[in-house]
């Protein structure tokens, strides 16, 4: 009851405001007919207050009252213009009626009609570049916390790879139209509100829309940074009207998409015995008595059988995301304010009571966007946003994923992990460890990876704090007093980011070593410490250990002139921008850039479109003569559907636009001043005899300079067609593109030792790429049942044309002619069937056994070296596709998105071995599904696997990493307007979202094929590609309220 009152008050307030507003617009005058009516919403059927009603051709008008009703005096032949913010305007002919029910439908296309392009916006129908736009509200459907992850499958031509699920670092890598260069990251330039920034750590709820610029005409204005494509993120801004307060709360349950891969201890050890027999390690074979203990679990602390993964990984964990925002304003002052909080939890169980070594990430985001009209012609906008994040993880320094991947491959028979309290009390002895006395039954061995506890609980917690604060100020001055349509804009932006890490090896954990005494056994208790083997337990955080930080700051300023004017049906616009940017990472030398940008567009009646762009980009990295790169682009378009002959003959064809663009872009894949020769002090020398020794300093030359270094250049062609049929219900966009990249900066590989020095990169590489994107959509409704389907299919492939291969290099070893990221491997060719084959085809390998994998000596040099050839696909997919659909009926809505990739391979090396080991001594694991019947034997010479111990991966380790995923699924319920009103709200919605719930990946063995090994510091040491934090499956309950 109370809420109703509030609601009424709010509504009356709103009506009053609107009424006051309408006074300025409307002059009421007497007419000969009094018309009464009501305006209602099409979907909900509810009345709409404040709708403006204007009699066409007059200044007579009114607005609807709080109940959506209106009354107006008009002549019976009048036509009414009915308009309301957010709804499609309508013209209603009275035709003598005295009462009208006017149904307004929401204008969902409002946003699409304007497209954000570089430094400006354009009407969608005038756009000639290849640009895809995503609304912020679409990102919210994905049920994920990261903008980049939400983009997956939603933009044609966008390849996303989410390599890790690590809390706080789980953003996807993004490639627009695939890879073009073997050097550099290949990732696009990202601008947030026009300023270069990172896409990571932006809260999706702040995003108004995202523009993805794919072809050269769209990216040329970004000069040397645009070659890999550009992503423009526009944040929400205030809008005129009452304060709108939105609150959202998302609670997510997530679990690892990877599950245990190994068999139990008994099966593993039986197979291991077989392996030892094959390798003649008879002294290591376990007796049947010991095996039986493992099977019977009768001495679980001596002969443990632990599935490490399941033991340590939770069934599910929680993420939480909450945000509050307010937007509103007057004609002269508008605001958008938001504050949000994110918590990402860990899937690893915490077995440690003293402190929490788990992985987690907490982040607070904030943003304030203000727009002021300082005068009738001057606008000032101030935007400031950022975040503060804290992540922490256990485990070794800088190797957060190690613990998890080790859990997956930790043998089941090495550690029981847990001792009951009583057990510890019974065996309190603390004698020094005796590592050499270790047996197969020893607990907590030292070797990695077996001792997960050693890493997880005994190395302490590493915490890192990071933050970003970006502040932009834009001043726009209308210069109509000079000439109509001219304005100038000045921008200044300052961006500051920092990362601080602290923590380290702090906790000194306990462990036990097994000691057999006759038929009995007892435990030795130990406390582990990196420096002393015995030490008291200390404070879990030692912030003095290994603390470091890496601040990043950038200052950007620009001056911009815009001109846009129509002369009849001739529309012209022009743009000129000058900008500078100075960025600095840590204490390294700052990077300086300077850009000059120009653009001119012309169209006739939005039918014939022309656009020309020029980006001139300068960097301090090159010699003065090559300092500036010139990147021109032209584009043209033809809106065929606007032609009379189409309108007359094919009225169902609402849209048919042809677009073509040609242009150049650049890539600033440089670091270091390539043109500068560097000399530095070097080692000291001694001259003189032993009696007259003299110390002298010497000078040495650095890498030889490249005086001719210039920007990498990409030359792109793009041809596109947009089709809309049947009231634009059926839409189709097809883009064909190609790209040639030249002058790719890389160091020469055809260098002889006689050059006598290392050298800086030269403009050597040439690549080419081509591909296409098809997007099809259909939306319609049957009464109140709305539905849409959408799909896209994208293909791109590339080849290296030149990459400095030495002329006499074998073709199979050259990069030339092969795709970027091609996987190479030697090839498996069956098994060694008998001793003769072992002796005659050893290729210099030791420890060959009968039944082992045989490797092809491709180059015939009797060794296994230099035999790798291109096998499989590249590490980045060449084909991506997605299919999404949605429907809504009254308050209910439902949508889902499938996304898939093909044409991608991964190299797993020995991890495809059904029985393999980190540690060559005894830490073997047996993969699920692997059995004795699958391995080579004299009776089964054509088996799936080599005999135990004879596995040698090579081409067997290359797996197909194609997948199809149910990337997101959402079921939503929007409360009826009446119900909402009764709660004192403007709108309310509750949704259940799923993310990554289903993955189909035939032929993939270990977890999620999108998951990638980390490239961290220790990556190589422990088997690179196997070190990962699994991607999560997520189910989110999402609540959104607007006051």
């Amino acid at each position: 009851m109370y809420k109703k009152k509030v609601n009424k008050k709010l509504n009356s307030l709103r009506a009053t405001l609107l009424l006051l507003f309408s006074v300025f617009l409307v002059t009421v005058s007497a007419q000969n007919l009094t018309l009464n009516g009501i305006v209602v919403d099409e979907k909900s059927g509810e009345s709409l207050p404040g709708v403006s009603i204007l009699v066409k051709g007059t200044k007579i008008g009114t607005v609807t009252d709080i109940n959506g009703k209106f009354s107006i005096k008009v002549s019976s032949a009048s036509t009414l213009n009915v308009s309301y913010v957010g709804y499609k305007s309508q013209q209603v002919a009275l035709q003598g009626k005295a009462f009208l029910k006017i149904v307004l439908s929401e204008d969902s296309k409002g946003l699409d009609e304007v497209v954000v392009v570089g430094y400006a916006t354009q009407k969608k129908e005038s756009v000639v570049g290849s640009i895809s736009q995503v609304k912020g509200s679409d990102l919210m459907k994905a049920g994920v916390t990261s903008v980049s992850n939400a983009l997956a499958g939603r933009v044609p031509g966008l390849v996303t790879v989410q390599a890790t699920g690590l809390p706080g670092s789980n953003d996807s890598k993004i490639y627009i139209r695939g890879m073009s260069s073997p050097t550099g990251s290949g990732t696009p330039l990202v601008l947030v509100d026009g300023v270069e920034s990172s896409m990571n750590d932006i809260n999706p709820s702040e995003v108004e829309n995202i523009s993805v610029l794919k072809d050269a005409s769209a990216t040329a204005v970004f000069g040397v940074k645009g070659a890999n494509g550009v992503i423009l993120i526009t944040t929400k801004r205030g809008q005129e009207g009452k304060m709108e307060i939105s609150v959202s709360y998302d609670q997510t349950m997530k679990q690892a998409s990877t599950s245990s891969i190994q068999q139990n201890a008994y099966n593993t050890l039986v197979a291991r015995n077989e392996l030892y027999r094959n390798k003649n390690y008879y002294n290591l074979i376990l007796s049947d008595q010991v095996l039986n203990h493992y099977r019977d679990h009768d001495m679980p602390y001596v002969y443990p059988d632990i599935d490490t993964w399941n033991y340590n990984v939770k069934d599910f964990t929680m993420d939480t995301q909450a945000s509050i925002s307010a937007r509103g304003g007057t004609a002269n002052a508008k605001y958008f304010l938001t504050l949000s909080y994110l918590h990402e939890g860990d899937i690893v169980k915490d077995n440690q009571t003293l402190y929490d070594p788990s992985y987690k990430y907490d982040r607070v985001n904030y943003r304030m966007n203000f727009d002021f009209n300082l005068s009738k012609t001057t606008k000032l906008s101030f935007s400031s946003g950022g975040y503060v994040g804290t992540d922490s993880h256990g485990g070794d320094y800088g190797v957060p994923a190690k613990v998890l991947s080790n859990m997956l491959v930790s043998p089941p028979y090495t550690t029981p992990y847990y001792y009951p309290e009583s057990f510890v009390a019974d065996h309190p002895s603390t004698i020094y460890p005796n590592i050499s006395g270790r047996t197969a039954g020893t607990l907590i061995p030292y070797t990695i990876p077996a001792s997960i506890d050693y890493i997880h609980n005994q190395t302490g917690t590493v915490r890192s704090m990071r933050d970003r604060l970006t502040t932009d100020i834009n001043l726009t001055q209308d210069l109509s007093f000079i000439t109509k349509g001219l304005n100038a804009k000045l921008s200044v932006s300052y961006n500051n980011e920092s990362t601080w890490r602290g923590g380290g090896y702090a906790y000194y954990g306990e462990y036990f070593i097994y000691k057999e005494i006759g038929n009995s056994y007892e435990w030795e208790r130990h406390i582990y410490d990196k420096t002393n083997s015995l030490s008291p337990i200390q404070n879990p955080y030692q912030s003095t250990i290994s603390q470091y930080g890496s601040p990043f700051k950038s200052l950007y300023y620009s001056a911009q002139m815009n001109y846009a004017r129509s002369f009849g049906k001739h529309n012209v616009s022009a743009l000129g921008v000058f900008s500078r940017r100075n960025s600095q990472s840590g204490s390294s030398f700052p990077h300086f850039e300077e850009n000059w940008v120009a653009r001119a567009t012309y169209d006739y009646d939005s039918r014939y479109l022309l656009e020309a762009n020029l980006g001139i980009a300068g960097s301090e990295q090159f010699a003065p003569a090559n300092r500036f790169g010139y990147f021109p682009a032209i584009a043209c378009g033809w809106n065929i559907a606007k032609e009379k002959f189409i309108k007359e003959n094919l009225p169902t064809l609402n849209n048919l636009k042809l677009r073509y663009s040609y242009g150049e872009g650049g890539y600033d894949g440089t670091n270091g001043f390539l043109y500068i020769s560097e000399y530095a002090n070097w080692k000291s020398i001694q001259t003189g005899t032993s009696q007259t020794q003299t110390n002298l300093t010497t000078v040495t030359e650095g890498a030889a300079p490249n005086l001719n270094a210039r920007w990498e250049r990409s030359i792109k062609n793009s041809l596109g067609v947009d089709i809309g049929l049947i009231d634009n219900k059926l839409t189709c966009t097809i883009d064909l593109f190609d790209e040639k990249r030249d002058g790719i900066l890389t160091t020469r590989r055809d260098v002889s030792a006689m050059f006598g020095q290392s050298m800086k990169a030269q403009n050597i590489g040439v690549t080419k790429k081509h591909g296409y994107e098809i997007e099809l959509g259909y939306n319609d409704h049957v009464d109140k049942f709305f539905y849409w389907v959408k799909g896209n299919y994208n293909f791109n492939e590339n080849r290296i044309i030149t990459y400095g291969d030495p002329a006499f290099m074998n073709d199979y070893q050259k990069s030339q002619g092969k795709p970027i990221g091609q996987i190479y491997s030697s090839q498996n060719i069956g098994y060694y069937q008998n001793m003769d084959e072992v002796l005659n085809y050893s290729l210099g390998q030791n420890n060959l056994i009968i039944g082992g994998d045989k490797v092809l000596d491709f180059n015939g040099d009797a060794t296994t070296s230099n035999d790798a050839v291109a096998i499989g696909f590249t590490t980045r997919p060449n084909t991506t596709y997605s299919f999404s659909a949605g429907l809504s009926y009254e308050s209910l809505d439902f949508n889902f998105l499938f996304q898939g990739v093909t044409g991608v391979s991964k190299s797993f090396g020995n991890y495809t071995n059904p029985m393999w080991s980190y540690d060559p001594v005894d830490s073997y694991i047996l993969l699920k599904g692997a059995s004795q019947t699958d391995v080579w034997s004299p009776q089964n010479t054509n088996a799936k696997y080599a005999t135990w111990g004879g596995y040698n991966s090579t081409s067997k380790g290359i797996v197909d990493a194609s997948y199809l995923k149910l990337k997101s699924i959402e079921l939503g319920y929007t409360l009826q307007r009446k119900t909402v009103k009764s709660l004192g709200l403007t709108s309310a919605r509750i949704a259940l979202q799923g993310s990554n719930l289903l993955t189909i990946a035939p032929g993939y063995i270990l977890g999620d094929p999108e998951n990638e090994g980390s490239t961290d510091f220790y990556g190589g040491d422990y088997g690179g590609s196997f070190q990962f934090y699994p991607l999560p499956r997520r189910i989110t309950l999402s609540l959104k309220l607007t006051l």
């Binding site: 005068s375 001057t378 001043l475 001055q477 100038a488 000045l490 001056a559 000058f578 500078r580 030398f589 300086f592 300077e594 300068g618 960097s619 301090e620 003065p624 300092r627 270091g672 001043f673 500068i676 020769s677 560097e678 000399y679 530095a680 002090n681 070097w682 080692k683 020398i685 001694q686 001259t687 003189g688 005899t689 032993s690 009696q691 007259t692 020794q693 010497t698 000078v699 040495t700 030359e701 650095g702 300079p705 490249n706 001719n708 020469r748 055809d750 260098v751 002889s752 030792a753 006689m754 050059f755 006598g756 020095q757 800086k760 030269q762 030495p806 002329a807 006499f808 060794t863 070296s865």
Partner: protein, 610 residues
């Protein structure tokens, strides 16, 4: 007001447009010196060429296991990590048998690519040495090219830089020549975008280019470097190196047809060098009492004999030659593995003091082989019964024997129950004494030592001359074409023998007759082996003399010593086990060229057999 702000900002903007050139004209802090700063300044130009002299970098210094620089850890042979002496891959001694044995063993078995560890170890090492030579050559070429830019140096100073650069360039070309054969000769640094598939010159052509470069060096360098500059090359060094280069070009490997003009030009170059040295008033052979100081703790006299050398001065104790010389529990607690066992092959090449050759089957040799030998024997080899200050301290002589009449245990030789020498102790019955600091009574806890690795000394030059003159004009014929110089081949050999106190090749005994040129050449070669044992020279002599595959070189021998009484012994020459033998093939006369250099095109070709 508001408009004013706009105009001020616009004005600021216009101002910044004007300064755009300055904005991008930056020099990073990481660049300490620019090209201009280095090459216009004398001191920095000198520091630039001086970098080649840095220890364990460009020069193939033997640092005897010192870990001063992780990149060049341990002693190196041809750029590869190797503990102990490079001599241990020749027939002069065998590598020690400890954990550091493996890095050298592949060389003895002719496996320059094979590897005990992972198959790439040696290849990388070979690449390192090959690359380092070219890096040094680039530095020299840059110094030569830029010398004229120096604005603040005297002519003498600038000449010094040019002379040093020419000499060092020649030196590193010589290293390439004796290691890998003929090479393209770069007259200036290659451009970064140059085609680098250059055709190789022949061995002879390259040697000729090196000799010409040394002629240029000799023009610019002082005859004797000042004391404080010791370690930098002199004119004498350039002349001696020229003789050495031309001798290498005349030697059988590079001169299979025996072209006499090559011998003559080598002889003339060596003769001229000797002539300059002898008339210099400075260069002279050191007295025999200071023979060991040529290598350890040099004295004033020894600097006068060393024409070009590398001094590791006043280094800590772990540099002492006990690492490479004697290995005994008497000296180091028995835990080191540094011993190099000297072969019987080398021991036998030391003549009796009267100049006659040893007969291992003679009764004298079987019972008392170590008395009455070439005086250099006692300064070079440690043998059973030798006196040594470290042992003298314990009131006894060195004890090396395999078996005893009274089951006593030898002190300097440890054997297993199977009578096999324990790792780290001698397998042959001998140790190296030449590089030992004889003043060590016991290993002192802290002191320093200086080691001098001579690249070329006056004794070398006499023997180079002897070898070339013998071929050019005969053993006792007068030289031709060297004004004011009359020394014959035999006289040159005798200069070296006289210093050692050996009987000269002019006596009446049969073994002191020079014989014909072929016979005398054998004697010169033996003289060179004896005189320069353990000076890291033998390997390349085996190459140039083309005797790597001779059975006398390949078959490694030791001596089995039985103590037959309180002071009587029986010595039996034995062939060493198979794993200590040398197993070389024809292709080992040159190293393989690192693979990637031969991939560039048709011109820069691989060495035969690789």
């Amino acid at each position: 007001m508001k408009n004013k702000i706009v105009y001020i900002l616009l004005a600021a903007c216009v101002f910044s447009f004007n300064s755009c050139v300055d904005y991008l004209n930056q020099t990073p802090d990481s660049v300490a010196f620019t090209d201009e700063q280095i090459f216009t300044d004398y001191t920095k130009s000198q520091a630039f060429i001086d970098q080649i002299l840095a220890p364990y970098c460009y020069f193939d210094d033997n640092d005897l296991g010192n870990n001063m620089d992780s990149k060049y850890v341990g002693a190196t042979f041809n750029g590869k990590r190797m503990y102990g002496l490079r001599e241990s891959i020749t027939d002069n001694c065998i590598p020690n048998q400890g954990s550091n044995w493996h890095p050298k063993q592949p060389y003895r078995w002719g496996n320059f690519f094979g590897n005990y560890y992972d198959g790439t170890y040696f290849q990388e090492g070979a690449e390192q040495r090959f690359n380092d030579c070219w890096k040094a050559i680039r530095i020299c070429n840059m110094a030569i090219k830029n010398a004229s830019r120096i604005t603040n140096g005297t002519t003498e100073q600038i000449n010094g830089i040019v002379g040093q650069a020419y000499f060092l360039k020649a030196h590193f070309y010589f290293v390439l020549l004796e290691g890998w054969g003929g090479m393209p000769f770069l007259e200036e640094p290659l451009a970064a975008d140059a085609n680098m598939d250059l055709p190789r010159l022949s061995y002879t052509q390259t040697a000729q280019k090196i000799a010409e470069t040394l002629d240029k060096a000799a023009q610019y360098l002082p005859l004797v470097v000042e004391d404080k500059n010791w370690g930098r090359p002199s004119k004498m060094a350039a002349l001696a190196y020229k003789a050495k280069t031309l001798l290498w070009a005349a030697s059988p490997f590079a001169n299979p047809t025996g072209d006499n003009t090559l011998w003559t030009s080598a002889a003339v170059a060596a003769g001229e060098a000797i002539n300059v040295a002898e008339n210099s008033g400075y260069y002279a052979l050191a007295p025999f009492t200071e023979f060991n100081n040529l290598f350890v703790n040099p004295k004033t006299s020894t600097y006068k004999e060393v024409l070009f050398g590398r001094l590791q001065a006043n280094q800590p104790i772990y540099w002492t030659p006990i690492w490479i010389g004697i290995q005994s529990d008497m000296f180091n607690g028995g835990s080191f593995n540094g011993a190099e066992s000297v072969t019987e092959n080398l021991a036998q090449s030391f003549q009796w003091a009267d100049g006659s050759t040893v007969d291992p089957n003679s009764n004298k040799y079987r019972t008392d082989p170590y008395t009455g030998r070439d005086p250099r024997f006692y300064k070079t080899i440690m043998y059973n019964g030798a006196t040594n200050p470290m042992v003298a301290n314990l009131s006894r002589t060195v004890e090396i024997w395999n078996e005893s009449y009274n089951n006593a245990v030898a002190k300097e030789l440890k054997v297993t129950a199977q009578k096999v020498a324990v790792n780290g102790f001698t397998y042959t019955g001998y140790y190296n004494a030449k590089l030992c600091d004889a003043s060590f009574a016991t290993p002192p806890p802290s002191r320093t030592i200086s080691i001098l690795w001579n690249q070329i000394r006056l004794a070398d030059l006499y023997l180079f001359y002897a070898e070339a003159a013998n071929r050019a004009w005969g053993p006792t014929a007068a030289p031709q074409g060297i004004s004011g110089f009359t020394m014959t081949s035999a006289q040159a050999v005798n200069k070296v023998r006289a210093r050692a106190g050996m009987a000269l090749y002019d006596g009446s005994a049969a073994w002191l007759q020079t014989g014909d040129a072929t016979q005398f050449e054998e004697k010169i070669r033996n003289e060179y082996r004896v005189e320069t044992a353990f000076e890291e020279k033998r390997y390349y002599d085996l190459r140039r003399w083309k005797i790597m595959l001779d059975p006398s070189v390949l078959i490694q021998k030791g001596v089995y010593i039985k103590k037959t009484g309180a002071s009587s012994f029986e010595y039996t020459v034995v062939t060493l086990p198979d794993n200590l033998q040398l197993k070389w093939q024809d292709r080992h006369y040159l190293f393989p060229i690192p693979y990637k250099n031969t991939q560039l095109g048709p011109n820069f070709t691989q060495n035969p057999g690789w």
